[in-house]
């Protein structure tokens, strides 16, 4: 994915103009106090993603590197899109993009890097997306919410909670 930069070393997702190649970029870095290998292995097993990504309804594998994602959208609707893995570097990064016939155009990368000292691993997600036109586009825009970074930030924080604390914090007092 593009990392086109000029006089500024900040990642695209932090720049005021967060658009490039027709994509809007969102994402976040979190530092997780666990070994890099462990975090990579958990993420690499894609079925695990639904434990901290609240909007995922189902992940169905259509090939060794291909999956169809069913994502809950507002008002009881669902959105489906297909992705393929473009590149995997063990314990370092996973890069994916939507397949050519997927209704939603998206690409993303999650990277795992050692944090300084004993601080664990810096996990960074960069996700680019282009909402399609028409009704589906409006649903996708709502799905990613008015502030698309919120969703990426929440999911990475839930991942961190699960990996560090073994559970995801909630103020809920009752099971139903």
């Amino acid at each position: 994915m593009s990392t086109d930069q000029t006089s500024d070393s900040a990642p695209l997702r932090a720049r005021k103009d967060d658009k490039a190649d027709g994509f809007t970029y969102v994402g976040r870095s979190v530092t997780i106090n666990r070994p890099r290998h462990e975090l990579f292995a958990f993420w690499r097993d894609f079925q695990n993603l639904s434990t901290f990504m609240e909007n995922i309804e189902a992940i169905e594998f259509t090939g060794p590197d291909r999956a169809v994602w069913t994502v809950r959208a507002p008002a009881g609707t669902e959105v489906q899109f297909e992705t393929e893995i473009v590149d995997i570097v063990d314990d370092t990064s996973i890069t994916w993009r939507s397949t050519p016939d997927s209704p939603i155009k998206t690409e993303g990368r999650v990277t795992f890097a050692d944090a300084p000292g004993n601080r664990g691993t810096i996990v960074t997600a960069d996700i680019g997306y282009t909402p399609p036109a028409g009704d589906l586009g409006r649903v996708v825009a709502k799905l990613f919410m008015a502030e698309p970074n919120i969703q990426a930030r929440h999911e990475l924080k839930r991942f961190k909670m699960l990996m560090e604390a073994g559970e995801i914090a909630t103020p809920i007092n009752h099971r139903n």
């Binding site: 919120i150 909670m161 560090e164 604390a165 073994g166 914090a169 103020p171 009752h174």
Partner: protein, 390 residues
């Protein structure tokens, strides 16, 4: 169960609400035997902390008997425990630095957004203290759900009454950390603003840490008497010019360290405080900072400023010039309770620390609204209120 709930400014009620249940594997459910009203609960009562919702269960100082445990709790049913007000996971970078109140994982994700905007980083979590700190139900109730119950609660040995150990949950370690943050050495003079529960524990802690002189400042005669009982000298700010008295009582040097145990609802009719109070009333998120300003001006050059008092929003007229020109150190923070509980429990067992002197009133939970009103309005006599839900 019965629980004290927040309904608006000056409006707390005892309602019937559903019993809590085990939600996460590290949870425990506690049957509350004693819970206290904290000075910082009055900030909620007065409506100066944002993020409260109608029906929220209050209370962050509590203890009780373990009733039920999740599979990953280290507690056992029947154990008697005191619970820190800070909800901390024990495994993140901050918990491992013993900075428990800065825990990354206690505050639920959805509740982190507001404080992330307000403070630059999300706040840690606490029981019964607004949705900014997690929206958790508090312990002024018959039962409470305790997350991360393998990290926070401390098991109390037989032979100690609730009154002796209850304050390990907040005000005792808060007073201790206030004194620690003041960096007290053997020849030091320490001045403490506010002789509420935290101020009085800060006085007691400073004495134990070996301060040569502790000066306590308040306007309630009875609270000043309590401070004097621990060997503090006292200043009643309604009778005396605090700044002049402090200079005279320190041979013109000023105190080596100052502790602001007042927080954002400072009393008094100094001009700056009247302006602050008006702004706070009209809701522009302004804190009242008269005590803190006075402390910063009073402290000696190169001195230390410790702020255990609760502040929530913005403060203007900050004496930044005094801070910089005098070369002051400032330390503050919500208490890292779990860091102190074991040591303080041992000091209680040895008779080194007395925490019972403070309790003026014990009430059944049903009378909690009266307790709140009197704790705020009759501070001279109502020094500390303990509620008994069972």
């Amino acid at each position: 169960m019965r629980a004290l709930t927040w309904h608006g400014i000056n409006d707390v009620r005892v309602d019937t609400v559903p019993d809590p249940e085990i939600i996460n594997p590290r949870d425990a459910i506690l049957r509350i035997t004693s819970t206290a009203i904290c000075g910082s609960d009055l900030h909620l009562y007065d409506g100066v902390i944002p993020g409260m919702k109608q029906g929220d269960v209050l209370g962050h100082e509590f203890m009780g008997i373990v009733e039920e445990v999740g599979p990953n709790s280290s507690l056992e049913v029947g154990q008697r425990v005191v619970v820190p007000f800070t909800i901390s996971c024990g495994h993140c970078f901050f918990c491992q630095q013993q900075q428990f109140s800065a825990c990354d994982n206690g505050n639920p994700v959805e509740n982190q957004d507001a404080s992330e905007k307000l403070y630059g980083h999300a706040m840690g979590a606490a029981f019964g203290y607004s949705h900014l700190t997690g929206g958790y139900a508090g312990g002024q109730a018959e039962y409470v759900r305790v997350p991360f119950s393998d990290v926070g609660p401390i098991v109390i040995p037989d032979g100690l009454d609730d009154e002796q150990v209850l304050f390990l949950s907040d005000i005792l370690p808060t007073g201790w950390m206030a004194a620690e943050n003041a960096g007290i050495g053997p020849d030091d003079t320490v001045a403490v603003w506010g002789c509420g529960p935290v101020g009085l524990f800060a006085v007691q802690s400073a004495m134990i840490m070996g301060a040569a002189q502790v000066i306590a400042i308040d306007h309630h005669p009875h609270r000043l008497e309590l401070a004097a009982r621990f060997g503090a000298r006292t200043i009643n700010f309604e009778q005396t010019h605090v700044d002049e008295a402090l200079m005279e009582m320190t041979g013109g040097l000023g105190p080596d360290a100052v502790i602001d145990a007042v927080g954002m609802e400072a009393h008094g009719f100094a001009l700056d405080n009247v302006v602050d109070a008006v702004k706070q009333k009209v809701g522009v998120g302004a804190d009242r900072g008269h005590a803190l300003r006075q402390a910063i001006l009073a402290v000696r050059k190169g001195g230390r400023v410790s702020v255990p008092g609760v502040y929530g929003g913005m403060l203007d007229k900050w004496p930044l010039g005094a801070m910089m020109e005098k070369g002051l150190e400032l330390r503050s923070g919500q208490t890292h309770v779990q860091r102190y509980t074991r040591d303080l429990l041992e000091r209680i067992q040895r008779g080194e620390i007395d925490s019972t002197f403070l309790i003026s009133h014990c009430l059944p939970l049903e009378e909690a609204p009266t307790g709140y009103k009197n704790f705020r309005d009759k501070q001279n006599e109502w020094t500390k209120v303990v509620l008994r839900p069972h």
